[in-house]
Amino acid sequence: MPDSTLTPQPVSENTCISIQNATISYGSYEAVKNVYCDIPRGKVTAFIGPSGCGKSTVLRALNRMNDLIEGCSLRGRVLFDGADLYDPSVDPVEVRRRIGMVFQQPNPFPKSIYENIAFGARINGFTGDMDELVERSLRQAAVWDECKDKLNESGYSLSGGQQQRLCIARTIAIQPEVILMDEPCSALDPISTLKIEETMHELKKSFTIVIVTHNMQQAVRVSDMTAFYNAEAVEGGSGKVGYLVEFNETEKIFNAPTQQATQDYVSGRFG
C-alpha cells in the first residue's frame, strides 16, 4: 500500500496510472474517498467490490468520463505517466484518446462495422491504410472471423457478444495506451464472456487494462492485480461512502488477503 502523504509521489517506471488520495463527490455527496492506487503498466487490473462502492466511479475518473455527470468533482490527483489528468489545462478529449473505454452495454455506432472502427481512427487523424487497421483491430478483438464477410453491414446486425468485441476493436483502433472496461461482460452470455476474456489476455501484451467486474471468477481469470473496494456508512453522511480496502496481486487478494473485509467478500460471506 502506498503511504498517505499529500504531496505527489514519485511514480515508478512500472506505474501507468497513479491515483493519489482521490475523493470523488457527486454534488456534496462523497461517493468514494481517499483512494490510493498505482495501476501497473502492461497488466490487467481488476476493480471488485459490492454495488455502490464506487469502483465504476473511480474507473470513469481515469479518463475524465465523470465530466459528463453534472456536479461530479474530484479532489486529489490522478497521474497518467506523471501528467496530472485533472490539471485545469488538460483537454479531456486528449485524455480519452490515450485512455480508451469500453462500456457495460455494447454501444456500436449506427454505422457499418467498417465505419465503426474507422470512425475513431479517422477523427484521431489516422492517415495510414484504413483497411489494414480495421482488419488488425478486429483480429485483436477476436471478432474478425465473424464479421469479415459483412464489413459493410450495420454494427447492429451482430449479436450482443460480437457487438461488445466490436466496441473493443473500435477502442483498440485508436491505439490508446490504456483500455478501461466497465463491466464489459455483464450483458453477455458465458460463451461471449469467455471470448472477451481470451481477447483480454491477448490485449494485455500491448495495452494496460483496467476492468470493473462483479464476477469474482472473472477477476481471478483475467487479472494480475486486484483492487477490492467496499462501502461503509459514515457518521453524519447521507449514505455509504466507498473506499479502497486492499490492492494487491490477484492471487494474494483471493488466497491470502490481509483485510478481514476482503476475506469475507472473496469467500462469499457478504456482498
Partner: protein, 303 residues
C-alpha cells in the same frame, strides 16, 4: 355468501357463457356505440372539407391554371401560376431562415445546455411562441421590417413574408430537434467520447445523423404548416397579380396561394371565385404531399 361466478351448470361445468342482459355488458355496448359515434363526428369535418375542396376545386384543374397569371377583374380564364411559385418562394425563404436557426437552437438545448436557467427560458419561450397566433408574427414583421423599409427600402416583400413564416416554423423545428436528440441513447455519446471524439465531432458525426429522421420529419411538418398560413402573409408579402422575377422578386410583394384564396374568394366575380377554389385544391394537395413525405421519412428510419 355466494358469487354469481360460482354458479355451475347441472353437470358441474362452470357457466362461462356471455350473458346479453347483464348490466356490465349492457353498459359496455352502450359506451362502445357512443365512442364510435363521437369518433365519426370527429372525422366528419375532416372528410367533408377535403371532399368539398376536391370537388369544387378539382374541376378547375387544367394546364392554363398552372401556367397563367390570374385575369384582371371582370375577365374570364387565367390561372394561379404566380401564386404557386410565390408560395414555394416564400416557404423556401422561411425554411432557409428557420432550419439553421431552429436546428442550431435544438442542438444547443439538447447537447450543450445543462438544463440551466437560460435553457429553461428558451424551452419556455419556444412553447409560448408555438402558441402565439400566427397573425401576431405577421404584425411583428410588419412593424419591424415592412414599415421600417429596412430591406433595401422595400416595404412589402417576399422576404418579409418568409421571415414571418419562419417565426412560426421556429418553435416546431427547435422542439423536434431537441426531442429527437434527447432520444439518442447516451451510450452512443459515451461511446464516441470514449474513442476520443470531441463534443463537436460527437454531435455532428454521431448524434445528429442518428436523430436525422425525427428532425427531418419535424422540419417537413413545420414547412407544411407554414405553407398554408395566410394571416402573417397578408401584411408582409401582400399580393401581386404579376410574375415575380429574379432576385428582385424576393424584395417585392409576391402572390401566395393562401392570400390568393383570401383575396379571390370574397371578390364579386365568378372567375376569381373559381380560381380561389382551384387554389384551395392545389394548396391542399401541396400540404398533403408534404405530410406524406414526412410519413415516408419517418418510415425510412425505422428500417
Amino acid at each position: 355468501m355466494t358469487f354469481s361466478s360460482s354458479h355451475r351448470l347441472a353437470n358441474g361445468v362452470p357457466d362461462l357463457a356471455y350473458k346479453q342482459g347483464l348490466r356490465r355488458n349492457l353498459i359496455a355496448r352502450l359506451l362502445t356505440v357512443i365512442a364510435g359515434l363521437f369518433a365519426a363526428i370527429a372525422v366528419l369535418p375532416l372528410i367533408a372539407v377535403l371532399v368539398y375542396v376536391l370537388i369544387k376545386g378539382g374541376q378547375k384543374i387544367s394546364l392554363t391554371l398552372l401556367t397563367e397569371l390570374p385575369p384582371p377583374p371582370g375577365l374570364e380564364g387565367g390561372g394561379i401560376a404566380n401564386a404557386i411559385i410565390g408560395s414555394i418562394v416564400v416557404t423556401l425563404i422561411a425554411a432557409v431562415i428557420a432550419i439553421p436557426v431552429g436546428v442550431g437552437g435544438g442542438i444547443f438545448l439538447a447537447e450543450y445546455s445543462r438544463g440551466g436557467k437560460f435553457a429553461q427560458f428558451i424551452r419556455f419561450g419556444t412553447n409560448v411562441l408555438s402558441g402565439v397566433p400566427s397573425i401576431i408574427a405577421g404584425v411583428f414583421i410588419y412593424g419591424t421590417i415592412v414599415t421600417s423599409r429596412i430591406l433595401f427600402g422595400n416595404a412589402y416583400s417576399a422576404a418579409a413574408g418568409g421571415m414571418a413564416l419562419s417565426i412560426l416554423m421556429l418553435p416546431t423545428v427547435i422542439k423536434t430537434t431537441d426531442e429527437g436528440l434527447k432520444l439518442v441513447s447516451d451510450d452512443l455519446r459515451r461511446g464516441a467520447l470514449g474513442v476520443g471524439a470531441s463534443k463537436f465531432v460527437t454531435v455532428v458525426r454521431i448524434t445528429l445523423p442518428t436523430a436525422f429522421t425525427p428532425i427531418a420529419t419535424g422540419v417537413v411538418l413545420s414547412i407544411a404548416r407554414a405553407a398554408g398560413e395566410t394571416a402573417p402573409l397578408i401584411f408582409t408579402a401582400l399580393f401581386s397579380p404579376f410574375w415575380s422575377e429574379g432576385i428582385d422578386g424576393v424584395f417585392n410583394p409576391i402572390a401566395t396561394l393562401s392570400v390568393l384564396i383570401y383575396n379571390f374568394a370574397i371578390m364579386p366575380y365568378e372567375a376569381q371565385n373559381e380560381l380561389a377554389w382551384a387554389a384551395s385544391f392545389v394548396l391542399v394537395l401541396f400540404i398533403l404531399g408534404l405530410n406524406l413525405f414526412a410519413r415516408w421519412l419517418g418510415q425510412f428510419a425505422s428500417k
